[in-house]
């Protein structure tokens, strides 16, 4: 819905719109050592669409998903699952150099996270949302006119404090993907 609203607004404002759509898949690291120890690094998927606003400056929106990790937690090594995912909206500057186009992005992510622990003594429910900065960079290669292969790097610091403990759910994402651009 957010995507639809954003896209409709831009379509009304801009006469000729260059649009991209793509899909990234890659590795997602975890900054917090305890999270890493219990759940480990994982993978993530990031479908996205973007729109060129003006001379390489564009707006991209996507949804990061796929980070769902199981582990054993605590003194009693009880089964646990951590899921993290969320929307990212970024302002991206892309500079086209022939077949390649490096880009930089700065945005905002709204992430939901949920921890479940299979224990009668897990007395708190961890299921919340937290927003944070998203820094991204990457390069697109256009083997065909409207098709690109993308290598993407994101760094997302995401400090959360649902209770008394502050936990960094952030980390890096190293992804590869495929996309297409077309004009409306």
């Amino acid at each position: 819905m957010l995507f639809f609203l954003l896209f409709s607004t831009l379509a009304l404002c801009v006469q000729a719109i260059d649009i991209e759509a793509g899909f990234l898949y890659g590795m997602r690291t975890v900054a917090d050592s305890q999270i890493k120890k219990v759940y480990g690094n994982g993978s993530c998927m990031f479908p996205f669409v973007g729109v060129n606003i003006w001379k390489g400056l564009g707006l991209a929106i996507g949804y990061e998903t796929g980070f769902s990790r199981d582990g054993k937690i605590g003194l009693y090594e009880e089964p646990t699952t951590l899921k993290v995912g969320g929307f990212i909206v970024s302002l991206v500057y892309q500079h086209r150099l022939g077949l390649v186009a490096p880009y930089l992005g700065l945005g905002y992510g709204s992430f939901s996270y949920e921890q479940t622990i299979d224990s009668p003594y897990a007395f708190e429910k961890v299921d919340a949302t937290q927003g944070g900065l998203v820094i991204s960079a990457g390069i697109k290669v256009y083997p065909l006119k409207n098709v690109f292969i993308c290598g993407d790097f994101k760094y997302i610091p995401l400090k959360v404090k649902p209770f008394e403990e502050t936990v960094d759910l952030g980390g890096m994402r190293l992804s590869l993907g495929l996309g297409a651009s077309f004009g409306l």
Binding site: D32, Q34, I35, V38, I73, G74, L75, Y76, T80, Q115, I117, P120, Y121, A122, F123, E124, V126, V160, P162, F163, E164, E165, V167
Partner: protein, 467 residues
């Protein structure tokens, strides 16, 4: 009607005078039978008749100091059988120590009040006694001690209440062997001998551990000994006294001021109870009170105690299974004698009085605060530990842990968990950081009897201490 009320009142008065709870275990010569007498009734009645799994005659019987178990010796089967007597109405065979593989034929059993071990004499004349570790819940730990004294036999044994001194009747050499128990309760650090008269077959030590009497069967006498310290035994005063007929067993009154000797005969003379005053350690007043008994044993049972005195010292029970069949009960203030009739198959041998089972709370309770890190929040855990109380001597108890909030003296303790005592740790989970409690530990017997509690207060962030 008035007569009935009067009789009932009299019975209650006598029962009260005799003490309400003690019982007597009686081993039988027949097929692993034993039975329990109820001393809380008058006349004394047979509470129940029970079997062990071995089909063999039982000899001596000895209760543990905490009255949770009793041991029976089975000479012919080479075993010492442990019976759970926490519920006198329903004793249960708990386990047995099979010594037949060592050609050991158990006779007399002695258990000191302190020390957590039993000493067992044997009937195979192989110069040995066995030390059994009573703290082993599985009843499997023992050591055979070979006497250093040449040609020794060890039929009857006695141990001082402090568990320091053992006296052994070397019956066929007319002497006693005595010595100090070693630190590991597995043997003697020293051995010495004292001559007795002809065929010493039983020995008993007074409750204060200072006087020992040895009955010399064929001499129709008993020897008096004074115990001066661990492993130190000297002749008493007088060194011996004659008794009528063949003395078999000795029992002291609970306060140690009187000694009773049960003697039998091979003739038509009745079995007798001889009563003496113990006037000082190792000193016996030669004045004798003789009581003819109504039962008769007519045999020399080496080391088997055929005489027991109630815990209040008011009543003696004496054995004997020849005609007319039964046990004699003697009121020791009036010396009135009556018969406890037994059925034809109830052939009594060893006798032992036991009281209500004692149970002690778990020992050395501790609490350690643990933090269970769930990353986003922390669960606090109180890890409670305890150890088996050695005074329970392996008794089958469960451990109960109760809890209440610290600083709420008027609140009730809530039961947290109940465990088998072998589980010596429990994690009280799901706690918040600032929660502190008073934990209460108790031990519970199978009868439901609960020990006095041991309390433990937690004050994390401050001190933790045991009450």
């Amino acid at each position: 009607m008035k007569r009935i009320v009067l009789v009932v009142g009299l019975v209650l008065m006598i029962s009260s005078a005799l003490g309400a709870k003690p019982w007597v275990l009686v081993s039988s010569s027949d097929f692993g039978h034993y039975y329990v007498l109820d001393l809380g009734t008058w006349p004394v009645s047979v509470l129940g008749f029970f079997n062990i799994s071995l089909i063999v005659g039982l000899l001596d019987v000895e209760p543990y100091p905490n009255n949770c178990y009793a041991l029976f010796s089975t000479h012919d089967a080479g075993a010492v059988v442990r019976i759970d007597i926490t519920d006198p109405n329903h004793p249960i065979e708990s386990s047995s120590l099979d010594l037949s593989g060592r050609a050991f034929a158990p006779l007399d059993i002695a258990i000191p009040k302190e020390g957590g071990f039993a000493v067992v004499g044997e009937g195979s004349n192989m110069n040995r006694i066995v030390f059994i570790d009573l703290t082993d819940p599985d009843f499997k730990t023992y050591s055979i001690y070979h006497l250093k004294t040449d040609g020794a036999a060890a039929e009857a044994v006695a141990v001082t209440p402090d568990g320091q001194t053992v006296i052994i009747c070397d019956s066929w050499h007319n002497r006693i062997i005595y010595g100090q128990v070693n630190e590991s309760k597995s043997g003697l650090v020293s051995e010495n001998t004292l001559s007795t008269q002809f065929l010493p077959i039983n020995v008993s030590i007074s409750p204060d551990g200072r006087t020992a009497l040895v009955v010399n069967f064929f001499s129709q006498s008993f020897s008096v000994l004074r115990i001066d310290g661990p492993g130190a035994v000297v002749p008493g005063s007088p060194s011996s006294l004659l008794v009528w007929t063949y003395p078999q067993s000795i029992a002291f009154s609970p306060d140690g001021s009187r000694a009773y000797i049960y003697s039998t005969s091979y003739s038509s003379w009745p079995d007798r109870l001889s009563c003496y005053s113990v006037i000082a350690p190792g000193q016996v007043n030669p004045h004798i009170t003789l009581v003819d008994l109504m039962s008769k044993s007519g045999a020399a049972y080496f080391g088997v105690d055929l005489l027991a005195v109630s815990l209040d010292g008011m009543l003696a029970i004496a054995g004997g299974w020849l005609d007319p069949g039964g046990l004699s009960q003697v009121l020791l203030d009036s010396y009135d004698v009556s018969l406890i009739p037994l059925k034809s198959y109830e052939h009594p041998r060893g006798l032992a009085v036991f009281d209500e089972a004692l149970v002690y709370p778990p020992a050395e309770p501790t609490c350690t605060r643990l933090v269970n890190d769930f990353i986003f929040y922390k669960e606090y855990v109180n890890r409670l530990t305890w150890s088996v109380n050695p005074n329970n001597l392996g008794a089958p108890v469960t451990v109960r842990i109760y809890r209440k909030n610290l600083g709420e003296p008027d609140s009730e303790f809530q039961l947290l968990q109940e465990f088998d005592q072998s589980l010596a740790s429990y994690d009280d989970r799901g706690l918040r950081k600032d929660q502190n409690f008073v934990y209460r530990f108790t031990s519970v017997l199978r009868t439901g009897k609960e020990s006095l509690p041991t309390d433990l207060e937690t004050n994390f962030g401050g001190l933790m201490f045991k009450k």
